[in-house]
Amino acid sequence: MNAPRKLPLAGLLVADFCWIGAGSYTTKIFGDMGADVIKIETSTRLDSLRLAGPYKDGKPGVNRSGYFADRNSSKRGITIDMKHPKALGVIRKLIAKSDIVANNFAAGVMEKFGLGPEDCAKMKPDIIYLAMSMQGSKGPQRDFRGTGSSIAALTGIQYLSGLPDRIPAGTGTNYPDHLPNPCHAAFALLAALRHRRRTGQGQFIDFAQTEPMLSLMGPTFLDLTVNGRLQDRRGSDHPWAAPHGVYPAAGKDRWIAITVMDDAQWSALVDAMGSPAWALEARWQTMPQRYRDREELNRLLGEWTAKQDAQELMQKLQAKGVPAGAVQDAHDVTRVDPQLAHRGHWVRLPHAEMGESLYNNLPFRFSRTPVQPTRPAPLLGEHTREILRDMLGLGDAEIDALEAEQVLK
């Protein structure tokens, strides 16, 4: 057997100024994959996820948020007040050792601290600098502000998701924060690291948190620019397949997704239903016919699904080759689903204030390298002293003095 290998990003140092959603989820990927990610925070302006629930036992506290914890696994944390005149001297030492500087502040904030991309390149000539502001670093609206909810609205995912005759629903979440922005930012950083390995050169990644979401909807824009069609919300309809939708199941707010992508799958579904007379009618036998009258078809199918358990029905339909899935809620994915359990997706890590609490693992497995978060989220300022002393070479007396002067708040 091969010995377990080093994690792919072992040896990399990330000076992580990210906070809240998208930025912290980007650097989590780096921490989980072996980079030493130093999360730089201040108690004078807390990462607002530390103040957002859920909390351990429902009791608020800066070290008790599960929302914060999940986004900050495998990182060490320091506190330093960048508005203090002595902070820059300390941070400069960290950046001089770092491979990556990452932030998702509003455009211009890092420059005010003396930590813009050019400043950091002077501290470390081959630095890779990721700035993930909402609108990017240049342009007439670069100072327009917002949060994940604004980004979901601004990028179109909100408008395009939901029912056509109702107010746009979106995904019910700040979706761009969770995958589109973190994954694209991580990919860009990994590409920049490769370029640096080959040439010795760092670079500046000017990342606008609006753009990856658009990149994921290319065909929607091409339908407009080529065909002149402005797409709209369409519920759970498919562009050409029917039945395709979300149908009621037994219980309160329980549903099943059923998708029939060809005539063979329709026959299999009819068979699973016990070949009721309505389903055998000629009008349902071809895709264009089913699609045209899909509203009626959905109603008829929903009458059949409504009294059945969603998980059992999924198994029954899958056994016949019909793509179907129970609409799983947070209980189902964390406690019921045997596949996520098989993959070890949910990881419990011991945390000083939260006990054993729940983290997402990354959604991939390697054949040789373990993929699993390596430590729980840092307490506020947990590693300040160890990092200043062991990594940046400050003496205990120096650290005490900085503390006394309120620099390390």
Binding site: P8, P54, A69, Q158, I167, N227, V333, Q339
Partner: protein, 415 residues
């Protein structure tokens, strides 16, 4: 390209990627290709599934007309190989002996059954990586279950959160479960390639669409774990009075003026409404408007909606966005795709880039760089390949002579 001077370097130059994937993975290949990797799309002789997906140019179906295909396969070359034939499999193995990464989305076991699985390919080239993107992963009780995008959203838990509380959940627009798998597929593949470049040893990467979707659950899993509460779909347009979606003259806006305590957004909004002479604004000034419980209630939401929308319906998305931002209020338009094409910030960044296609007389626009990189810019290197466009060229590169390629084509092995 006719640009003068030296072309900018490409971050992924010199990487060779074989992209065998369908709709769950073509975007992964695009991430590599637009950053300069040599990505070869390997299609069956009839073409890959995405060629059959709308929208089509002029709404007419055809293997060269899918805009979905054309978008997700920019910057790639394309060849056709029949991997169900022994000679097709042999050609693929020869090609993989020159490759750094294979991206595939077949059911678990499909590649092995054809003698082109990871272990076989790695025997000839130890540094090769394979990214296998599947609905549920390579092993486990659901590994052989079938999934569409909607099923991926459902099983990953995101579908339950989208839509309206009084109706069935609704899907996210644009095949986002496929995209979740493709994005994490790209990150995972890039990590494996990084490791292979450092150690000389590649590995097999197993990416699950369902698992990728769970990363989109915001705080729902932790909310259940820590507080025992299952997050529901949003109640309606406003989460709190003053926080949510509102109608305006030409559509909707998002307003984030949650009035807790002395929230600056709330006091700035009040000042704005006063300056604008909004009728009835004084009704929002009482002490109850600082009470979160009151703001969650129907009365507060109804009062706010009535007052605000009587005013906002007189103004456009763009005006409200610009005026709200001037006052430091988190307000954003609920953009349509048409709004985004005209968005001045995206225009200034040059976000939309030309889309060229042999069937179009003029270039159209499509989304461009998802990130602006100073040293190694994102760039569309070529339009998506026509069916079999580079078969001769790519097979020549691995030493298959032109007449041999003709023979393979006549046998149906290549196209």
């Amino acid at each position: 390209m006719t640009s003068t001077g030296k072309a900018a370097p490409a971050a992924l130059e010199g990487l060779r990627v074989l992209d065998l994937s369908g709709p769950m993975g073509n975007y992964t290949g695009k991430l590599f290709a637009d950053m300069g990797a040599d990505v070869v799309l390997v299609e069956p002789p009839g073409g890959t599934q995405l060629r059959r997906e709308p929208p089509f140019i002029g709404d007419v179906a055809g293997v060269e007309r899918s805009l979905n295909f054309a978008y997700q396969n920019t910057s790639k070359r394309g060849i056709c190989l029949d991997l169900d034939t022994a000679s097709g499999q042999q050609l693929f193995r020869d090609l993989a002996a020159t490759a750094d990464l294979v991206i595939e989305t077949f059911a678990p076991g499909w590649m092995d059954a054809r003698g082109i699985g990871y272990e076989t390919l790695a025997r000839r080239r130890t540094s090769i990586c394979m990214a296998s993107i599947t609905p549920f992963g390579q092993t486990g009780p659901y590994a052989q279950m079938q999934a569409t995008d909607l099923v991926g959203l459902a099983m990953g838990g995101l579908l339950h959160m989208g839509g309206y509380r009084d109706a069935a959940p609704t899907q996210a627009h644009g095949d986002q479960a496929f995209k979740c798998a493709a994005m994490y597929g790209g990150v995972a593949a890039m990590l494996a390639v990084t490791d292979a470049e450092l150690t000389g040893q590649g590995q097999h990467v197993d990416i699950s669409m369902q698992e990728s979707v769970t990363l989109a659950l915001e705080n729902a899993a932790q909310t259940y774990d820590l507080e025992g509460v299952i997050r529901q779909r949003p109640l309606g347009d406003q989460r709190f009075a003053g926080y949510g979606l509102f109608e305006c003259k030409d559509g909707y806006i998002f307003l984030g003026s949650r009035g807790i305590g002395n929230s600056p957004a709330w006091s700035r909004s009040m000042q704005w409404f006063k300056d604008e002479g909004m009728v009835g604004a004084e009704r929002l000034l009482g002490p109850e408007w600082s009470d979160l419980e009151y703001l969650k209630g129907d009365e507060a939401r109804d009062v706010f909606a009535e007052l605000f929308m009587n005013w906002s319906r007189q103004h456009t998305k763009a005006w409200l966005y610009s005026e709200g931002q001037k006052r430091g209020i988190p307000l954003a338009p609920v953009s349509t795709p048409a709004d985004l094409l005209e968005n001045p910030q995206l225009q200034a960044r040059g976000h939309f880039v030309p889309f060229t296609h042999p069937l179009l007389e003029q270039a159209a626009s499509m989304p461009g760089a998802p990130y602006v990189m100073s040293g190694t810019p994102w760039q569309v290197r070529r339009p998506a390949p026509a069916l079999g466009e580079h078969t001769v060229e790519v097979l020549n590169e691995i030493g298959v002579a032109r007449d041999e390629v003709s023979r393979l084509v006549s046998m149906g092995v290549a196209a």
